[in-house]
Symmetry: C4
Subunit: 352 residues, 4 copies
């Protein structure tokens, strides 16, 4: 498990982890040559599931469970605290099963005491647990990082392409309902790179507080597992990874899918690579966006503050150039969609 | 004839035989992040023209008639029997005309006694035969492999690009009706790489039990014959091959063409290269799919079991990721079509 | 003048003369897997403006006026006579002004006594001539080759890109009417590589017997003149050629333009490169098609018979594969248009 | 400031300054094979905001303020006077703040006494000035070059990507109204490379006399500032430049945006690279077009007369080939739009 976690970090750092396109280039926000405001008037402050944060941007779910992961979490937490933005942790199962690595998650609450933190557990694991155990795990995961919200990740594609995978999704929706009842916190359901469809969002509506689309077009665990399979000489897994590498709903399309049927909070992730991408996600109807891989790289390269700062500046500039004073103004800015996104919206009957 | 058969095998093995695209990449099945089933729950069992088989997948029509062809048929038959999937043989004319090579087809019933086997004859040959002779041939072809069904192949493009070709299709439909009357078995009409249109499918409706679309985008006999012509210095045939290399209806489009007007059993072939392609074919309305060239390569490379196993796993994974428990669920999964397929469907007035 | 004519021949031979695409690849004729006829049943015979010819295919307007041109015309004429197909000559002005080169055109009637021959004069030249002189020229041009029909070419783009050009089109339509009145022969108006629009076709309807679209996508005189300008150091002309190189209406689109409003005889030319392209042109509504540059190359390479024979075979094969027994059947074969041609048809309100 | 001005000139000269496409290749004017006029009949004369000029073409806003800029302005002015076409100057702020460089603008009225000259000031600077000062500046700018009209440039994107930028647009519209009231001359509002939307044009309607679209697809100040940031090691600015390099409305689309809602005079600029591009801009509804960077290059290369002459010839040829005798005829010529421009027009509800 430890080896796999560190493999994930190293492979995620490399280009092999990045697949396809999130289709943000299919969202052309119309330039406003006469914004009638100063750049300094642009206000990035946002609401994260009821909490005030300094921007509609946060650190996506990544890691925990190893020495290296602990260090990364500590650095990310410090930066999040400084900038006043939310942070997810990676899947906490490892620490629930092995208390000796709890510290690798606990560092987050130590270094980021005031910002909203998001706990993280995987749907396949919950699927296999008895009800009492589910409640016990969630309560402990929240406590571990003093979480403001809990994320349950859906990663069906990842589970099928790894030899040690657990492709079990029977009863998952009931377990999610149970989590929502058991924990007095906002619950987020998130994908990890293959996106959420409107059919899935419809089933989650009224059940969870937020959907994090986790769309196709940035980090791909199908590709990461394929690289591992190649290294291990597992031909069948390598081949499945190859076939399903571009499987999924591009992030921009997934935001439209979810927003069309889901009245709750929508988080954009998967291939967001600049504050401009973030502005496009918000224009499509997301309330918030996260980045993962680029922040991992920035931590490992010792430039995490520069990275976050650049994203926030780009978001501010994008808002200025469309004449949006507040984050909520982005939902109304004129735009033109590229042909692929337009077709998708039309064929799927979305409102976007 | 013997030389031509072996040439076909060698050229089919090489990349020169593969032309264009079957447009499966124009069929995006929508990811279901919450499939509410386990991978183990997915059931691949299928019906092949009334026979129970373990998957909606079989070995396409290929060969027979030479020493090498006999060996290939034996290996394919063993694998088909092991996996419990149907198998076609190649055109049996050679054995009807030359009894000394009957064994190259008979090996199939010896090594695959229980699975459905499909006999194979060409339309141009039937066109030239008197009625009694047609019946005699078909009966003998069925008996030769203990066939469950009979396939008549239409290969107009192939016949025009080979010097020894017989581009004769006058009266073919009447001969097909005769075959259907004469043989108490399901009759399949199949193309070999240029696809079946709705106009042709309309003429076949009520006449035959199944249509195997044999669409453009995988193995191309136009290209294979072009390579032979080049080798033989036949400039005119080489040039015709060049001009008509991409002639035909891409497999995905052909499935829509046929399904729109034909109520019978639809088999997808031509450029199917993974279980995911197979799932897309079934989503478009096919009941079954076959592969030919990749299985030929796998036999010659000594990895036929691995190949079939990979295809079945990929199909299972695709079904899991769209939340399809049974094969028949695939016809209803949400999807988005790419621009070429969408235009085709619209301009041709298809229902797909 | 002599030098220019030979320059044209040498530059037309080279690839620099070929520009853009005639959009024949935007016309997908639907494969008919069950043509219900034999290849031998396909009948290529056609009507050329009232004359019976052996195929709907002829030799386009090219040359005359120099030693080399005379030899080319003789070779083309011999081949046309052998195959029983029509032949145009190049612009005859040179011979009208300089009787010593009349023989370079007269060889055509000597070597091709029985086939329909087409005389050729340019609109800009007629524009400048007094009425009596126009009649005199036309009568003489007809007599020179014993012409069956007279073609007047419109070449506005060519005239502007050459230093010695005569970009004069004032009163051209009246001169065309005069030619029609003066000569008891079918009159064809043709472009030379930039196509005829429906607006122009409407003006020609009721005036001339035939329109030869001469569309964009094959030989480009704008490009040929650009190469000459480059060689001569004429920077302004080189630049204009560069800017207007892709100017014009692609041949496939031009056929639709003309066919939508013109009830007369339609000839397709410009970038026809195989009998399959010819079949596509006929499917779009043309009655006849010609090739120029490929036949020039074939003559110079000593394989003119092989070239014509290949084109006729390809046409026959295309007809067989769509189940067309006669040339007139092509207009009704099912087809799918590519996105560019489809958009063009829609935006221009054409019927095609 | 002086250094920045000269940097701009040198970077504008190089290819790094040219970004994206103005989408003129999405405007296909339909060839008129029978123009019924002579090239010599084409009349380029035009109206520039009430003044008679010899063509609908002028020299765009560029420079002033340095030794080199002064020389360039003198050369441009001489050529403009010779050809009888209008000329803008670059932003005059530098001369208003530093009288010692006034001469670099004054050369324009000295060398081009009779043609319409356009004064130039930036919106962000006006935004910061008190009302009286605005009037004072405008009056002085007009006097400095004996201007016929005044242009106020909007350059929001440029201001955000330079360290010394002034991204201030609060109150700009009021300042523009003030300028219009204070100066008895036509007022033009212009972008500098990111285009004007219909929403902005609606706000300017009734306020200003002309809109110069300054669209995306030619010279990009975002890219120029990015090259400066790279040279200066300013990573944040380099990155913002990278992210926003293709930000904006392509020129062809911007002409449609503005023309759809604005009844005044429309000037096309941004990526116009030939007289044919100019003809396309006029066909879309512009009244006039300018080029900047190509004229800067031509001056520096000592071939400004050749450049202007080529543009005028190309425009004349384009008009001839569509059968347009006068500039105003261009608005009615038949055309086909490419897919991107068509989608834009449709999604934005434009009339074009
Ligand atoms: C190294 C790494 C580890 C990850 N681990 C988890 C995880 O444990 N749980 C989870 O929900 N998502 C995990 N993710 C997925 C991210 O939350 C996110 O959905 C995905 O990386 C797409 O965003 P990106 O393209 O910005 O990287 C991980 C991503 C990375 C790069
Ligand atoms: C070596 C070879 C021989 C073939 N021979 C026949 C044949 O005799 N009869 C027939 O109906 N199809 C024949 N086919 C065509 C296949 O059945 C199938 O339609 C075609 O190969 C497209 O499938 P693929 O792209 O998966 O190879 C042959 C294919 C190959 C590769
Ligand atoms: C060498 C050469 C000379 C030509 N000369 C003439 C001519 O004199 N008159 C004319 O109407 N067309 C002339 N054409 C144009 C052709 O008739 C035809 O419209 C054009 O070449 C496009 O056909 P292609 O692409 O098959 O070559 C000439 C073409 C070539 C290649
Ligand atoms: C060197 C240079 C300096 C410029 N300076 C100004 C300026 O001071 N004011 C202004 O309104 N536009 C300025 N522009 C922008 C041009 O007016 C024009 O909008 C832009 O260059 C796009 O046109 P082009 O693609 O033909 O160059 C400048 C352009 C260049 C190339």
């Amino acid at each position: 498990m430890e080896k796999r976690k560190d493999d994930h970090i190293h492979l995620a750092y490399s280009d092999v982890s990045q697949v396809g396109s999130p289709w943000f280039d299919e969202v052309l926000l119309i330039h406003n040559a006469l914004p009638e405001l100063d750049l300094a008037d642009v206000d990035l402050s946002a609401d994260f599931l009821g909490a005030k944060v300094s921007a509609p941007f946060g650190i996506g779910a990544m890691t925990g469970g190893t020495e290296l992961a602990g260090k990364i979490n500590a650095e990310l937490a410090k930066a999040a605290e400084e900038f006043g933005i939310p942070m997810y942790v990676g899947s906490q199962r490892v620490a629930l099963q092995n208390p000796s690595v709890r510290w690798t998650f606990e560092v987050v609450k130590q270094h980021a005491p005031t910002i909203p933190k998001v706990a993280n557990l995987g749907a396949p694991q919950l699927s296999a647990l008895p009800e009492e155990k589910v409640v016990e795990w969630v309560v402990e995961a929240v406590e571990m990082i003093d979480a403001y919200a809990v994320a349950i990740h859906l990663n069906a594609a990842q589970e099928v392409v790894q030899p040690e995978g657990e492709p079990r999704f029977r009863g998952v929706l009931e377990k999610i309902k149970l989590v929502k009842r058991a924990v007095g916190k906002p619950v987020i359901v998130k994908e990890v790179g293959n996106g959420i469809s409107k059919e899935v969002a419809e089933r989650l509506a009224g059940v969870v507080d937020a959907i994090d689309v986790g769309g196709l077009g940035g980090t791909s665990f199908v590709s990461i597992e394929g690289a591992r399979a190649l290294g291990a000489g597992l031909e069948l897994y390598r081949r499945i990874s190859e076939v399903f590498k571009t499987w999924g709903i591009p992030t921009a399309a997934s935001i439209c899918e979810v927003r069309s049927v889901f009245g709750g909070y929508v988080i954009a992730s998967g291939g967001v690579r600049s504050g401009l991408d973030g502005a496009r996600a918000l224009a499509l109807g997301a309330n918030f966006f996260t980045m993962s891989q680029p922040l991992l790289r920035a931590v490992l390269d010792g430039r995490i503050r520069e990275e976050i700062s650049a994203v926030l500046t780009e978001l501010k500039v994008a808002m200025f150039l469309v004449g949006a004073r507040r984050v909520s103004d982005l939902a109304k800015v004129p735009r033109v969609y590229g042909p692929r996104l337009r077709e998708w919206i039309e064929q799927r009957g979305l409102r976007c």
